[in-house]
Each structure stands twice: as structure tokens, then as C-alpha cells.
């Protein structure tokens, strides 16, 4: 593998020295482009008190290409599907090289705080969310306590 670009080294350093509250990101020992990520469920959301594991991968063309992010923990959310794939504009069309790992993870956290059922990825969840918001939120909360337990 080619040597790690300075940009990635700098971002990694900053993630360690100046971590974002509620978010951890650690590069894998064998592959410094692969990060193990945890995000705490935002307060006031159905995901509160949950700890969600994610994986993040920086493709070869990063930062020209967006990082690839995926939830590993099962989550009931209209914009996250069963495979943990996330529907978030900045991960696709609205990616800009001026964004960073930390901004991406903050956006994911914000997505947990404010789901957008009108632009769904998991159609069934989104439908549930629109028709019966209280019920859907209760289910999200239930899933959080089931699958996203803090150790």
C-alpha cells in the first residue's frame, strides 16, 4: 500500500488528541484507512443511552471521494437499512473534500437526532415512522436497549 497521505495522518491525530464528545474513532492496527467508530445516541432521541458501533473506510481517492460509513449495530431508523447502510447526502452527492471524518460522524449523529422519513432508505421503517411516530419511536427505543447496550 502506498504511504498514508498527510491528510489522513493529520485527521487521525486530531481525532485522538481532540475527540468529538460522544464519538470515538480508532484506526485499525493493520489498515490505517479502516476505522472502528462508536457513536453515543443523542440525548432526547429514541437512541439515547445506546452505544452504536460503526465502521468507516477511507477509499484510495479520499478526500476527493467520500468515506464509506456503515452501522454495525442493528438500529431502527428510517434512513438506515438492515445492512447498516446510511442515506446521507454528504456521503454521496454532496460530499466535498473540505469535509472531514469528524464532520461526517457529527452528521451521522445529527441524523440519529433528527430522522428524515420523507427521504427513506428503509421503506418499511419510514412508513411506520410517518403513520405512527410514537409507536416507531418506541420500537427504536426498544431496539436501542436490545442491541446497543453500553458495556
Amino acid at each position: 500500500m502506498a504511504s498514508l497521505p498527510k491528510r489522513i495522518i493529520k485527521e487521525t491525530e486530531r481525532l485522538v488528541t481532540d475527540p468529538v464528545p460522544g464519538i470515538t474513532a480508532e484506526p485499525h492496527d493493520d489498515n490505517l484507512r479502516y476505522f472502528k467508530v462508536t457513536i453515543e445516541g443523542p440525548a432526547g432521541s429514541p437512541y439515547e443511552n445506546g452505544l452504536f458501533h460503526l465502521e468507516l473506510y477511507l477509499p484510495d481517492d479520499y478526500p476527493m471521494e467520500a468515506p464509506k460509513v456503515r452501522f454495525l449495530t442493528k438500529i431502527y431508523h428510517p434512513n438506515i437499512d438492515r445492512l447498516g447502510r446510511i442515506c446521507l447526502d454528504i456521503l454521496k452527492t454532496n460530499w466535498s473534500p473540505a469535509l472531514q471524518i469528524r464532520t461526517v460522524l457529527l452528521s451521522v449523529q445529527a441524523l440519529l437526532a433528527s430522522p428524515n422519513p420523507n427521504d427513506p432508505l428503509a421503506n418499511d421503517v419510514a412508513e411506520d415512522w410517518i403513520k405512527n411516530e410514537t409507536g416507531a419511536k418506541a420500537k427504536a427505543k426498544e431496539w436501542t436497549s436490545l442491541y446497543a447496550k453500553k458495556e
Partner: protein
């Protein structure tokens, strides 16, 4: 599909008169049967609507398979058949087919250059209203998917917001914050940043984080990055045809900026993709020629007649400058008399089924007893059908018992005919039907290819006539004319064309004319019949 000439639809010829008919007739390649069946059935339809109206045209295979249904000595059939040929057909001339009952297609063939000119003239037309540079109007129009009305409406209401939206001007607040930033940063004075390239010593680019002496680029927003990062960024964005903005805000790069950064006229690429998007947005009026590497675009100004075409089961065939003929509606090659729906249904089915069929045929064998498809995934050749428990040899598909202990190689003589017969009997009904039609389809495709070859040899024949018979080139053209018609209809006209002796050719000259005219008439008749079937709803494609 590219080789398929849809004009070679099953055309009947006068097999009735042909003494060789019985010999030629082959139940596998029964395309003739279907078409003649269709022809007779239509005439019958007037009195007895029973047979075809219940089932679709894809359901007639039961008849097509049993040869007995097609005995031509049936007097009544023969009569209706003949009257079909002599009477109504004569009335349908080429002229009527192309311009008679449906409105004319008024179209022009364009190139991307023409389209670009059209785009520019539309922009120039708007220029007095907007009073901003043409390039900015282009951005506005693209933003509004070339919907002028909506754009003008919004323009009068919220001009400034729009300009920010498309990245022509900055948000006033954004300017303020970037100015604040600059105030904090002692390196940059408070003056508004100039658009363009600068040279900086030990510049730290926040994209690549490298610290180096480098050229940099920035727009008025002041987001400055090293030229390498900017180049990389633009390179990635050029292909998708969207407006390229600053990496950190929505301010748009203009074509001249792109060329400045990239050092050559890369903006052309962006323009090419914006032309593509223009065509895409106007796909009701503009269609790319579907042929590979053909760059022609057909522009149909008035699409109102298309509905009429659909209603009458006609298809709007157009021809580009490279003589490629295709259907404006569905983008396939000419496919008369089938309409677009039928064609689409067939192509989809052929695509889907042929894949399945190929796999099934190449990977499985049918149990000789119960016909279940078996895939052999290992083990010896002693097979036991899991469905009917029949034990057989994988190689010869015969009963296992006589094989005794010769486990690994079958030494029994295979009775080919017998097994083939069994096979066809055991094919499931739907597969049988499908395979039959697929074969017919394939046969026509093959004959279309053969026709093309024949066309090639005709040229040399004409030359032979000139040399040996002292026939002038013009006089020899009747051969070439014949081949033109033959290309659209393959029948015993081809027998005449097989004649090698130049003397014989001249003797049969009249026959050439007769046959050509005849075949041509039949073709129109068939097209008309096919359309009729569709119009009256007698036949429709099934799934």
C-alpha cells in the same frame, strides 16, 4: 439484437403452388406456418371470432405444432387465402403505409453542435430579460431543467436568492463570515479575494494538508486550495455534467475558471455533458440514434401525433443521417408490424428466458422418465432421479439396468432419434412454446444475415452480366432492385437469385419482376394484418 432485421418478419410465399413445399416444409422452422395461419385466421375471424380472441398470439403454438392443421388442399381456406392476397393487398400501397392514415412525422436530424447552437439561441433569447452573462443564464436554465416559465416566475420573485442558489453570487452572510475569518488571519488582508490563481510560499492546503510552495486557486469566497487538489477535484467532477462549485461553499466555477485551473479547454467536457443533460431533459422531442457510435440526434418538433401512432399500432420510424432506421418511440430498430409494446414484451422475454434456457440446457438434463430437470453436481454417472426414483445413465439417458457394472463410462449405443423425441415430448409446455418462438426468431435473424451475404454476391453477378451478356449496368439493376425487396422478405425469390447461368437470368427477367412485386405486396399485407390484430385487440402479448 443488432443483427436482427425486424423487417424480416415471417412472410409467407406461394408455397401452395410450390411442388417442393412438402420437402421444404420442416416442422422445426415453422415460421411460414404461423404467418399463413395468421393470415387465414384473420379472414375467418370475421365469421368466427372464437379461436384467436380467446387466446393471445403467443398461444397458437398448439396449432403451429400439429402440421395437420395446415393442409393447404382445403378449398375454402385456399380461397380466402387467395382473396386476401389479390384484393385488399393491392389497395395498400407503400404510400398509404407511410403517410396514409397517420399524420406525418416532422423531424430533423441534428448533431451535438446543432443542439448546442439551439441551446445558445435560447439563452440569447432570454438575455434581455435577465441582463446577466450568458453563462450564468445557462446555469439558471440547467438549475430549472430548462423550464423557462418556472424560472421566469421565480426570477421576478426572488432574483437575489436564485443567484446564490446557482452559485453565481455569494450569500451576504457568507461574505461576512469569510471576511471575519480573514480579519482573524493576519496573512490575508481584509480585501475581497480575487478569483484566480496565486502563488504562495509555504502554503498549507487544508485538503491535502501538505505544506509547500505552490500555486493556489480560489474564488471570491476566499476558500483557497493548492492547485493540485483543485485539479484533482475538477477532474473528478467534469464527467457528471453538474455545475462545479467551490469545495467549501456553493459558489460556482465558471468555464473560464475551469480552463484556468486545468490549463486546457476542459470546460468543453462539461459543455458536452450539459448538452447531454439538455437532451435528457427534452427526451420527448430529442432522441439519440440507438446505433453504436452513431452521434445523430433526431428532433421531433411536434410530438402530438405520437399518440395517434400508438392508437393505430403504428410505430414512428425515423431515419438518421447515417441511414439507421429506428423507432422514435421505443428506440428499437424498425419492428413493423409489431407495435412497441409487443416488441418490448418479446425482447424482454427473449432476454430473460434465453438466459434461463441457456443455463438449463447447458447445465441440466431431464429425467428420461418424469422430465424433471436434473443438475449433476458430482458423483458417478449412475443417476437416480430424486423425483421419480428412476435409475438411469447420465451419458446415454437410458435405463441403468443394462449398464451393469460399467460405472464410469457408458458403452451403450445411443439411439439418438428416440431420445430426442422423448426430450421434446417432456419439455414443459411453457418452455416448449417459448423455445419454439425463440427458434423462429433466431431463424429469421440468421436468414437476415444470409440475405446480407446474398446481397454481397449480387454485386458480382451484375458484373458478370455486364461482361458476359453485354448487358448495360442500368439494365442489370433489376437484380439489385430485387435484392432490396428480398432484404425485407425472404422467399422463393431467393431461388431465382440462386441461378448462376447469366443466360438463364435474362430469360427469367420477367419472373424477377413478378416475384418481387408479389413479395412486396405480401409484406404490406402482413404488416397490415399484424396491425389489424393489434388494433382490434385480437392479439396481445402475454407475459
Amino acid at each position: 439484437m443488432t443483427q436482427m432485421k425486424s423487417k424480416t418478419t415471417p412472410i409467407t410465399s406461394d408455397y401452395i403452388d410450390d411442388p417442393n413445399y412438402e420437402k421444404v416444409h420442416n416442422p422445426i422452422f415453422d415460421s411460414e406456418n404461423i404467418s399463413s395461419f395468421t393470415l387465414t385466421e384473420i379472414t375467418d375471424h370475421k365469421t368466427d371470432s372464437g379461436v384467436l380472441s380467446q387466446d393471445s398470439e403467443f398461444e397458437i403454438e398448439d396449432f403451429a405444432y400439429s402440421d395437420d392443421e395446415f393442409v393447404y388442399d382445403d378449398e375454402e381456406n385456399n380461397e380466402t387465402y387467395d382473396s386476401m392476397l389479390s384484393q385488399p393487398i393491392k389497395q395498400i400501397t407503400k404510400k398509404e403505409m407511410s403517410e396514409g392514415s397517420v399524420p406525418n412525422l416532422n423531424y430533423e436530424v441534428l448533431t451535438t453542435q446543432n443542439i448546442f447552437k439551439n441551446m445558445l439561441s435560447r439563452l440569447d433569447h432570454l438575455q434581455p430579460v435577465f441582463n446577466i452573462p450568458r453563462e450564468d443564464i445557462l446555469l439558471l436554465m440547467q438549475h430549472y431543467d430548462w423550464n423557462e416559465e418556472r424560472l421566469l416566475e421565480n426570477w421576478t420573485e426572488r432574483m437575489d436568492e436564485l443567484l446564490v442558489e446557482i452559485g453565481v453570487s455569494q450569500k451576504t452572510s457568507a461574505v461576512a463570515t469569510s471576511l471575519e475569518k480573514k480579519a482573524e488571519n493576519p496573512d490575508i488582508s481584509g480585501v475581497k479575494t480575487k478569483r484566480g490563481i496565486a502563488f504562495k510560499q509555504s502554503f498549507e492546503c487544508i485538503i491535502c494538508c501538505e505544506d509547500k510552495d505552490t500555486q493556489t486557486f480560489s474564488l471570491e469566497c476566499g476558500h483557497e486550495y493548492c492547485i493540485d487538489c483543485y485539479r484533482h477535484y475538477i477532474e473528478n467532477k467534469l464527467h457528471n455534467g453538474n455545475v462545479i462549485t467551490c469545495m467549501d461553499c456553493s459558489l460556482a466555477l465558471k468555464n473560464i475558471d475551469i480552463d484556468t485551473v486545468m490549463g486546457h479547454d476542459s470546460s468543453k467536457k462539461l459543455m458536452a455533458s450539459s448538452i447531454k443533460s439538455f437532451i435528457q431533459k427534452h427526451n420527448k422531442n430529442y432522441k439519440w440514434c440507438p446505433y453504436a457510435d452513431c452521434k445523430c440526434i433526431i428532433h421531433l418538433k411536434d410530438t402530438s401525433s405520437l399518440a395517434e401512432y400508438t392508437r393505430l399500432h403504428f410505430s414512428p420510424f425515423v431515419k438518421c443521417d447515417a441511414e439507421h432506421r429506428f423507432c422514435f418511440n421505443c428506440g428499437f430498430e424498425t419492428h413493423a408490424p409489431a407495435d412497441c409494446n409487443v416488441t418490448n414484451a418479446w425482447v424482454k422475454k427473449a432476454k430473460k428466458e434465453s438466459e434461463n434456457l441457456n443455463w438449463v440446457m447447458s447445465h441440466t438434463k431431464e429425467c428420461p422418465k418424469c422430465g424433471v430437470n436434473i443438475e449433476k453436481d458430482g458423483g458417478c454417472n449412475h443417476m437416480k432421479c430424486s423425483s421419480c426414483k428412476y435409475e438411469f445413465c447420465w451419458i446415454c439417458e437410458g435405463d441403468w439396468a443394462p449398464h451393469g457394472k460399467s460405472f464410469y463410462q457408458c458403452t451403450l449405443y445411443t439411439n439418438d432419434e428416440k431420445s430426442k423425441k422423448k426430450e421434446s415430448e417432456d419439455l414443459s409446455k411453457i418452455m416448449k412454446k417459448y423455445t419454439f418462438y425463440y427458434r423462429v426468431f433466431n431463424e429469421h435473424e440468421i436468414s437476415a444475415k444470409l440475405d446480407w451475404k446474398l446481397g454481397q454476391t449480387i454485386g458480382s453477378k451484375v458484373r458478370a452480366l455486364q461482361e458476359k451478356m453485354d448487358v448495360s449496368w442500368i439494365e442489370g439493376q433489376f437484380l439489385t432492385d430485387s435484392i432490396k425487396i428480398l432484404n425485407e422478405a425472404v422467399e422463393d425469390l431467393s431461388e431465382l437469385l440462386q441461378i448462376k447461368d447469366p443466360e438463364q437470368i435474362m430469360k427469367n427477367k420477367l419472373e424477377f419482376y413478378n416475384k418481387s412485386g408479389y413479395v412486396e405486396n405480401r409484406m404490406y399485407a402482413l404488416m397490415e394484418c399484424g396491425r389489424d390484430l393489434l388494433c382490434k385487440g385480437i392479439c396481445k402479448p402475454t407475459d
